[in-house]
């Protein structure tokens, strides 16, 4: 069920830029910059899933980290619940973290191996709900003491993600990859965020476990109206879970629109090639393969004009000099290509 677009988006990113300096040696001044995120703008509505897809070096992971302010953007604004968090200090950001949490790709390195699972999930509660009083109030449980309310909440979160609450005393290494990912989700849910940024949350999992985690994320969205920025490279997963999709290439958005629309009628030649490259189980659904020549260029030195033109099967002379802008090609479906229609 697609959420009805609200007047006020939950997240609005305007003209975001994230750059990394490239230094030749340890002590030389930066001569060049990698424009990892290059003038990116988009919105996410409450309760919606925006899928973000692209290949290596496109900037999707950098964008995801910038949204939760694990990185500081060079320019642009990130409006989260009517406040621009792009330039806040670390201390100021801490309070805003209740709204926006993150789930990471690697279930093995994203959990502190020296804390029990209960402590990992509870850490968020400790930081954001400073007294047992607040926890009790939040849960409307007046009879319990502070420590019990805390334990109750942790048990509740473990149950929500499909784990046995009795396992709160165990350490991460005692769980499988899929279970650790569930713990990461419980940790993200602890503070009841409105937006969760998911950075390739199922890529490191076995196929049969991926389905469990994808179903869990969808159930949680239905029950709690939480929005997701879902970063992945697997187009089928993205299409399945997203309401809208954004495709990135070399730091820029090249196409964005409703998930079905982008995947079934892609307008940008890069998206078309990407989708045609996805291997298909069913031969009936296979479309002619568009093989892109060459490699993805280095983001330090992107090509002039349209960044995709050296590999584009339909490039024209103007593509080499004039950078395209995002145009609305079909209802709510935008592409950054001079020739898209």
């Amino acid at each position: 069920m697609t959420p009805v677009p609200a007047a006020n988006p939950l997240l609005e990113v305007r003209d975001l830029q994230v750059r990394f300096p490239v230094r030749r040696g340890l002590f030389t001044r930066a001569r060049a910059f990698v424009k990892a995120v290059d003038h990116v703008s988009f919105t996410i509505q409450p309760g919606e899933t925006l899928g973000l897809v692209g290949e290596s070096g496109c900037g999707k992971t950098t964008l995801a980290r910038a949204i939760v302010r694990l990185l500081k953007p060079a320019a642009g604004s990130i409006w989260l619940a009517d406040e621009d968090i792009a330039a806040l200090s670390a201390a100021q950001m801490r309070a805003r973290r209740r709204l926006c949490q993150m789930i990471f790709q690697d279930p093995f390195s994203s959990l502190d191996p020296r804390l029990t699972v209960g402590e990992i999930i509870g850490e968020a509660l400790e930081i954001h709900m400073t007294t047992g009083q607040m926890v009790r109030e939040a849960l409307e449980i007046q009879r319990l003491g502070a420590a019990s309310a805390y334990r109750h909440r942790i048990a509740e979160l473990l149950a929500i993600v499909g784990l046995d609450p009795a396992q709160a005393q165990r350490y991460p290494h005692e769980f499988s990859g899929g279970q650790r990912q569930r713990i990461g989700i419980a940790r993200a849910l602890a503070v009841e965020p409105k937006l969760i940024v998911c950075d390739e949350p199922v890529s490191a999992l076995d196929v049969s476990v991926q389905a469990q985690i994808i179903n869990l994320l969808q159930d949680l969205q239905r029950e709690r109206a939480v929005a997701y920025l879902f970063v992945a490279h697997d187009l089928a997963v993205i299409e399945h879970i997203s309401h809208r999709v954004m495709v990135m290439y070399l730091g820029k958005i090249v196409e964005t629109g409703p998930a079905k629309s982008v995947v079934q009628t892609p307008k940008h030649p890069y998206t078309q090639a990407l989708i045609s490259a996805v291997p298909q189980i069913d031969p009936q659904t296979r479309r002619p393969r568009i093989i892109l020549p060459g490699e993805i260029p280095s983001p330090i030195n992107p090509p002039p004009g349209c960044p995709f033109h050296p590999r584009c099967p339909i490039a024209e002379p103007r593509c080499r000099t004039e950078p395209p802008i995002l145009r609305e090609i079909a209802p709510a479906h935008w592409a950054s290509c001079h020739l898209a229609k």
Binding site: S56, S176, S208, A236, I275, I281, P283, T285, I291, E295
Partner: protein, 323 residues
């Protein structure tokens, strides 16, 4: 040209011996593309490495069975024979190209190293260039002196394929060769493998967990679960009419592009640990069609139709309707 008969491989772990590969049998004909599919820990990589006896033993122990590679029993061959087989009859390509290439040698030199070992008369720059062209590397002259880190992942994988082909093997074993690559590069590499197979008449054993890759490239497929093969069939037949409940569940749990569907059918539970194998059928605790005697009787791999094998006595039944 490859025949694996009842292969059994144990691994020593903490004083115990755990059976990672339990009675695996299949064969690959000349010029055929065979896919071995399964999730992590099912034993597919161990089986693949065993073909050239590449598993370090200890901790591995070849507990039983035979592997006939071009007529030679690999598990009983002498060192000299093995050296000839490795590279000369069977070549390997692995998942992480960056980890397989020596970072301190130029790629041209690494390819030449293979030539010196197996075809010393052909160990020339000209032959290296020919191989680079064969695997589709543009402007190969400029690449001869590159170090691995100067190339992208897709290029590195092509170099590894060139190295594997340098010795002109009859069988190429590729273990998840495209998993670490972007999807557009993956498409290039799969196309390359298909093209090479056709041009060189080489057999290909491709190991993957991605059923869609199977659909694109395989002639025949074997599905592994917990150290055993549970189904063997021609690729098209397996993907359109899977018989084993695990294969069916696996296919149902994969999101497919442009296919409608509200909810993925996930497989409950987890793959069993090697030291905690369920009694009877290994899949029964997670199986939708499980019957009472699945807990007690170990099913055999049976050829139900020509070229279609399945390890389940109830493959032909429907699952009980959801309550």
């Amino acid at each position: 040209m490859l025949e694996i008969l009842n292969l059994q491989i144990d691994f020593a772990s903490g004083g115990r011996r755990l059976r990672a590969v339990d009675g695996v049998s299949f064969s690959i004909a000349a010029g055929e593309t065979f896919c071995l599919v399964g999730e992590s820990g099912c034993g597919k990589s161990a089986t693949a490495l065993a073909i050239a006896r590449l598993l370090p033993a200890p901790p591995a122990h070849y507990a039983g069975g035979a592997i006939l590679l071009d007529g030679v029993d690999v598990l009983r061959a002498g060192r000299r024979q093995l050296r000839g087989l490795r590279g000369g009859v069977v070549g390997y390509v692995f998942q992480e190209p960056g980890a397989s290439l020596n970072p301190v040698f130029r790629v041209g030199a690494q390819i030449k190293e293979v030539l010196k070992l197996h075809r010393p008369d052909a160990a020339t720059d000209a032959e290296v260039l020919r191989l680079l062209k064969l695997v589709g590397i543009p402007a190969p002259e400029s690449r001869l002196k590159n170090y691995p880190h100067e190339m992208s992942g897709g290029m590195q994988q092509r170099i590894l394929i060139a190295m594997a082909l340098a010795a002109q093997p009859k069988l190429l074993v590729a273990d998840e060769p495209t998993t670490a690559l972007d999807v557009t590069i993956q498409a290039q590499i799969l196309d390359l493998l298909k093209d090479l197979k056709q041009r060189l008449g080489m057999s290909l054993l491709l190991i993957t967990h991605n059923l869609a890759i199977v659909g694109e490239i395989a002639d025949r497929v074997a599905v592994m679960y917990a150290g055993q093969i549970v189904e063997i069939a021609p690729a098209r037949a397996l993907l359109t009419r899977p018989w084993h409940p695990y294969t069916q569940a696996l296919i149902a749990s994969v999101p497919k592009l442009a296919a409608p569907g509200e909810r993925l059918r996930s497989i409950p539970g987890n793959v069993p640990a090697l030291d905690a194998m369920p009694g009877g059928c290994r899949f029964h605790p997670r199986c939708l069609k499980a019957q009472p005697d699945c807990r007690l009787k170990k099913p055999e791999l049976i050829e139900v139709e020509p070229a279609r094998w399945v390890r389940c006595p109830y493959w032909n039944t429907s699952p009980p309707s959801p309550s």
